[in-house]
């Protein structure tokens, strides 16, 4: 038997969680997220500064020599659990995880990349991969699409990482070569855009074969840690459902004393507990560079995506009419959970990846 992954949280990870949670509770609860989303610009620049310059979360994956925290995927996963719980609009998954992991898989010592990584680690700049948000780690890269539709957080990005036939390019979004056209997203807290980049614009930061595998490494890290965001969403939805059904009375009893509802929440609890094991296994496999990482990531995505959706759907239903209102934040969780289930590869796609990795072939 191979050594099992470390599935617990370390003390520094608990401390990190406490710091992020305190900040988000104070400054970015769900009602605040709703107000911002309604304003048309969901991001809170001051919050991002507190998260990145204050707590240093953006640099967790980046080595200290490049201005990062030199921590790893396990810690970044804890941050994502908290961002998921609060459905925080922040370009963390896209910039601090996916784009950062992509750059780290290129020649991170070259001055251009090192400079960019330092800026990302400090939260001074935001970079995103110019790919549709649904792109799975093992799907063929749609290079040369014009425009690229559904690029997550592009409206907030300073730099686009553009995969082309001959390599990976960094393009400033402020340059005249770039057009970013906001789309209306299902998930109000993670904006999507159609992005057009003039061919040939930007600076080549990696040549062809390296570029392809770097992008895949970035997508793999993103997909693996997305499971922790999904865990956070599911956890919040369950807690809210329990709280609400304990408080609200119908038929002269608390709703939460009806067995039909209790069993549904107990079932959700079991799914959340299981999602935690799957998400931790993926984070640990990524952190240790385990050869098992592609399997652990596909497993976590195949499991945690549906759990978050189930939890969010139950949360709406168990709140009754209140759950159907715009004022109650359950819909923010539902929209995030449902989008996340397609982001970085759908559940079905990850199951196919698993089937290939475990040799469970389709009928001939």
């Amino acid at each position: 038997m191979t050594t099992p992954p470390d599935l617990l949280y370390s003390e520094p990870e608990d401390d990190l969680r406490a710091a992020v949670r305190a900040l988000l509770t104070d400054r970015a609860d769900l009602p605040a997220a709703l107000t911002r989303a309604e304003s048309g610009d969901p991001y809170d620049p001051a919050l991002w500064t507190s998260l990145t310059a204050g707590i240093g979360v953006a640099g967790l994956l980046v080595p200290e020599s490049l201005g990062g925290q030199g921590a790893g995927h396990r810690e970044a996963a804890v941050v994502l659990e908290e961002l998921g719980r609060a459905v925080t609009p922040a370009p963390y998954l896209t910039s601090s995880v996916t784009a950062t992991a992509t750059l780290l898989a290129c020649d991170a010592d070259s001055p251009d990349i090192a400079g960019l990584l330092t800026a990302l680690a400090e939260g001074r700049r935001v970079a995103v991969l110019a790919l549709p948000f649904g792109t799975a780690p093992d799907s063929p890269l749609p290079v040369g699409a014009d425009p690229v539709r559904g690029v997550a957080d592009a409206v907030r990005a300073d730099v686009l990482l553009v995969p082309r036939q001959d390599g990976l390019y960094a393009v400033e979004t402020a340059s005249p070569a770039v057009t970013v056209e906001p789309l209306t997203p299902l998930d109000l807290t993670r904006p999507l855009a159609a992005v057009t980049v003039d061919p040939g614009a930007g600076l080549r930061i990696a040549a062809a074969p390296v570029a392809g595998s770097a992008v895949r490494a970035g997508l793999l890290a993103g997909a693996g840690l997305l499971a922790s965001e999904q865990l956070g969403i599911a956890e919040w939805c369950l807690e809210e459902s329990v709280r609400h059904t304990k408080d609200r009375h119908q038929f002269n009893r608390p709703l939460g004393s009806f067995q039909a509802l209790k069993h549904r929440m107990a079932q959700l609890w079991l799914e959340v507990v299981s999602a935690r094991a799957a998400a931790r296994a993926a984070a640990d496999a990524l952190a240790t560079g385990s050869p098992d990482a592609p399997l652990a990531v596909a497993l976590a995505q195949a499991y945690c995506g549906p759990v978050a959706v189930h939890a969010a759907e139950e949360c709406v239903q168990l709140h009754g009419g209140i759950g159907m209102t715009w004022e109650h934040p359950a819909h923010l969780a539902l929209k995030r959970a449902k989008s996340d289930a397609t982001a970085l590869g759908s559940t079905g796609r990850h199951k196919e990846a698993l089937a290939a990795l475990t040799d469970l072939p389709a009928p001939g």
Binding site: L7, W269, V273, S274, R280, G364
Partner: protein
Amino acid sequence: MTDATELRTRVAELIAAHPPSGTGRDDFLRARFDAGLAWLHYPQGLGGLDAPRSLQSVVDAGLAAAGAPDNDPRRIGIGLGMAAPTILRYGTQEQKERFLRPLWVGDEVWCQLFSEPGAGSDLAALATRAVRDQASGDWIVDGQKVWTSSAHLARWAILIARTDPTLPKHRGITYFLCDMTDPGVEVRPLRQLTGEAEFNEVFLTGVRIPDAHRLGGIGEGWQVARTTLMNERVSIGGARLPREGGMIGAVARTWRERPELRTHELRQRLLTLWVEAEVARLTAERVRQQLVAGQPGPEGSGLKLSFARLNQEISGLEVELLGDEGLLYSDWTMRRPELVDFTGRDAGYRYLRSKGNSIEGGTSEVLLNIVAERVLGLPSEPRDDKDVAWKDLAR
């Protein structure tokens, strides 16, 4: 302070003094117990060294490497998983010294006389009576127990019986250790839907139990029983397995080896169950890591629920996957097996046996209630049996 190095030395000494090749199985197991290497976290003199539970793997690995015999936890599961922790917590020193060693070695098999025809999920409603014989101080037990696994093999039983019918049901129960060879104990096989008889009916007629075999205080049997039940639920579904080590492995192998059986619909179900089985395995691993780190969480309560549902769905899928072969059954002969065999025999047997996984040791419905109330803190349903004397309850 016991550490891994010291333990390796102790293992080496045990092996040197009792070379597994030249020692009988039972003798080796007894020597292992006496060396304190049976269950490390138990006290000195009772098979342990008061050492951290986490170090047990060091001992187990060392002994396995030396080819030493294991005690067969499947055969003696009720004793190991349920009787032992309860005796350790509530037993007198004499009881611990009398019962733990033969139990661990497997010299004495145990069974659990809890369920009754009228008391299953509502176990505290039980009607088996134990009346004190004032002259001798012994207890005289009369009643009927049912679904008693391994009663036909057992030398001892953990037994709960009513000692005061005038109290509310949870307060009038007392816990005993019952000698299954005593006069008045009659065991009749009870055939299961698999065709065999793993469990039994047990009739208790004027069975005399000395007060020295009472475990815990008079009327405190329910608290004692809760220790047993908690240990039962954690011990089901918590085994450490490699990937594809459980039932899913058999189905995956069939899938790989028999392309002619594959259909698209079955594959989608197989992939879903493969994911869930692997996640359940990781969840059990996480529970184990929490225990070792000394931070046990409530997650253990969920393991049995997952285990039962997965076993049922996977074995159901397997019967369908096998097509014409799935229409056959190995053997309907009525037998009284020695082992509870969740994964053995053929797909049809596994499918039928797994139906018990969501009933034995607390049904899945009851476990969901427990999770909802004790873990999530949801309110209990209104009930009217808590303050009424047992004798006045509707039955």
